[in-house]
């Protein structure tokens, strides 16, 4: 499992870094909201899920798509605007989907997929399946009305859903304290009747363990559960760069997060030769994905009019 977690973390990290490197060449013609620093959240949860479990995410969805098992080539091609992309060049970085692995979508409008996830969970319950839904969103997402409405309905119907608030402390450049009268997202979940716990330090192993335990309860009909996972975004909100010069946050604030980097942490737990082997495999995979993206054809003009209805 350690190896699996490490590989998953490392794949995300390296692909994101590759995107950041390529970005100045303008080959990627899409905004990118990088997951660097936050990989552990998607990885920890998804490693404890089954293929037939379903996830919903946000425009910051690269990590989630990959962690749930989405195809790296199709994702890279999507960012390059190619016909081989996971949405055939129609959705871009912010609307990744992979129906094959249960990544059921991502939205550029904050908060929207929370309700979609709840609806999917309703369907699972109705269909008598023992799969569950994991709904990922940011700390900012918890301020949208749809968050409160969705949680209430999920609790009311005792739905098989795990809510994961990726609390990176900021919505763009505004800190949680400047947006929330009582900056305690778990308290909100509990108010709507959902057991909630805060998971500190971006801890991928603890998150994995807790998800395993909680997922079993949810499958057994225990109803919704809520994780607030404390994490940190290393790069700028959108784009490939650092942004400490903007002044809304300090490098000091970032330091402990970077020191507790889960990629490094898990890497250190592996035998060096295994680690290196995984790294090599991932580097090759990333390289291949970028080549695939670059060499893939653009969508045909006629594609403009397909799949409207």
């Amino acid at each position: 499992m350690l190896e699996r977690l490490y590989r998953s973390l490392y794949r995300i990290r390296r692909l994101e870094e590759a995107f950041a490197r390529v970005y100045p060449t303008d080959k990627i013609k899409s905004p990118i909201h990088l997951s660097i620093g936050q990989e552990a959240v998607s990885v920890g949860v998804c490693a404890a899920l089954r293929l037939d479990d379903v996830v919903f995410g946000t425009y910051r969805g690269h990590a989630l798509y990959l962690a749930k098992g989405g195809d790296m080539k199709a994702m890279a091609a999507e960012l390059y605007g190619k016909a081989t992309g996971c949405t055939r060049g129609k959705g871009g970085s912010m609307h990744l989907i992979s129906t094959e692995v249960g990544m059921m979508g991502a939205s550029a409008v904050v908060g929207t997929t929370i309700a979609n996830a709840v609806g999917y969970a309703y369907a699972l319950q109705y269909q008598g399946r023992d799969a569950l839904v994991a709904s990922f969103f940011g700390d900012g997402g918890s301020e949208e009305g749809v968050f409160a409405e969705s949680l209430n309905f999920a609790a009311l119907k005792c739905l098989p859903i795990l809510f994961i608030c990726e609390n990176n402390g900021y919505a763009i450049h505004t800190s949680q304290e400047r947006r929330q009268g009582r900056p305690d997202i778990c308290a909100r979940a509990r108010a709507y009747g959902i057991p909630a716990e805060r998971i500190e330090h971006n801890d991928v192993l603890y998150l994995f363990e807790r998800t395993r335990t909680v997922a079993a309860k949810i499958r057994a009909g225990g109803g919704p559960h809520f994780f607030e996972v404390m994490t940190y975004r290393w790069r700028e909100h959108v784009g490939p760069n650092n942004d400490f010069h903007l002044g809304y946050r300090t490098e000091d604030e970032a330091t402990p997060w970077i020191e507790a980097d889960q990629v490094t942490r898990l890497g250190a737990m592996l035998l060096p030769e295994r680690r290196e082997q995984i790294q090599e495999e991932v580097e090759a995979e990333v390289e291949a994905a970028l080549v695939f993206a670059e060499e893939s054809p653009e969508p045909e003009p006629a594609e403009l009019y397909t799949d409207v209805l």
Binding site: G91, G105, N116, V118, S150, N152
Partner: protein, 366 residues
């Protein structure tokens, strides 16, 4: 074409298929829902108060008892999330029918409808589809006022990825609802509280009324009246007033506003040379604007015609009956406008009211 499917078509102009049986519009909706739920276990119906004693004017009556609370349920007052929930269900393969007792409340659901439901199929590259039906009702009279009276369907006509239907007869109420439920993409199904009280022939078997086909509800050669939603009834009454003065109006019910059957309207205008579109909403950027614009585009250069739009007065809906009367077009003001179009001048004529043609009067509380 399987025998159970009857298609509305410009070629069967006047009436719906004759049927022994008469049903109210309400019961037609109820029956369509019931039959589709019986046929397909993926069909669910939910929304505020669908399972309460009033059962949305009776349109959901008996469904809870028959299909149980996991398929028929009331919801919290949370239009935004419940719309998102409906979309999530659809992503998982269900066919939700989400009911709103007022179209005005859709303003709380716009984000999910416009930004998610309309776009999912396209922006996910065809990997998913959203077979969602959203039922909503337009209110009128008895002081429903500003926030309980709007006909905002043009918003949904504007956005690709959505379909809009506004049936006016019990026959179409049933056939369009079944078509909407079976459709793989989102359909906004527009009802009108006054139309709920209509009765008419409705076959007992299931049938669909095909998207994108208008119905000629009365044949004439002097002027084309296109009446949307409840204004269809007013147009049919206006036609009787016009007959008194020797004007033969052709009346068209578009039924589906998106996709819109402009061909049928264009052909009629080619014949009559006059087009009066009577909308059940405001005219600016409304369905009537679109119809006038499309007909003008189509006929430019080879057929000139006279045209006019009518609709809600360009104000908020007032509650006092004396003002509300002036707010809506009615059969007499429609007849007057149609005559002016035919004569090409303001005649000042207004038909004497015939009480047997009076609109159904809706009495409160609501």
């Amino acid at each position: 074409m399987p025998p159970s499917v009857i298609r509305a078509s410009a070629k069967r102009p006047t009436r719906a298929t004759p049927s022994e049986r008469t049903l109210s519009y309400v019961d037609a909706i109820r029956e369509a829902t019931d039959q589709e739920m019986a046929r397909d276990p993926s069909v669910l119906v939910f929304g505020l108060d669908v399972d309460d004693p009033k059962a949305i004017q009776g349109t959901t009556r008996g469904l809870l008892e028959k299909y149980g609370p996991s398929r028929v349920f009331g919801t919290p007052l949370s239009e935004d999330a419940m719309t998102g929930t409906a979309i999530g269900m659809a992503l998982a393969g269900l066919r939700p029918i989400h009911v709103h007792i007022r179209m005005d409340f859709l303003m709380l659901a716009m984000n999910q409808l416009i930004n998610v439901a309309a776009k999912s199929r396209y922006m996910y590259g065809g990997k998913v589809s959203i077979p969602l039906v959203v039922r909503s009702m337009i209110g009128k009279s008895w002081g429903q006022g500003a926030q309980h009276s709007q006909g905002l369907y043009s918003f949904f006509m504007h956005v690709p990825g959505l379909q809009v239907v506004a049936p006016t007869t019990p026959y179409d109420a049933k056939g369009c609802l079944i078509a909407a439920i079976r459709d793989d993409n989102p359909v906004l199904y527009v009802e009108h509280r006054i139309l709920h009280f209509q009765n008419g022939p409705v076959p007992a078997h299931t049938y669909t009324v095909t998207p994108g086909r208008a119905r000629i509800t009365a044949v004439g050669q002097d002027v084309t009246l296109v009446g949307i939603s409840q204004m269809q009834s007013e147009c049919l009454k206006a036609r009787l007033y016009l007959e008194e003065i020797g004007i033969q109006a052709e009346v068209i019910d578009p039924i589906w506003l998106s996709p819109l059957d402009i061909d049928t309207i264009v052909r009629s205008v080619e014949k009559t040379g006059r087009l009066l579109v009577v909308d059940n909403g405001w005219v600016c950027c409304g369905a009537a604007a679109e119809i006038i614009a499309q007909v003008a585009e189509r006929l430019q250069g080879h057929c000139s015609f006279r045209m006019r739009r009518m609709g809600f007065a360009p104000v908020t809906c007032p509650t006092a009956p004396s003002l509300e009367r002036l707010y809506y077009p009615d059969s007499r003001t429609i007849a007057a406008a149609a005559r002016d179009l035919v004569e090409g001048t303001k005649t000042g004529w207004m038909p004497r009211e015939r009480s047997e043609l009076n609109s159904f009067i809706f009495k409160g509380p609501f």
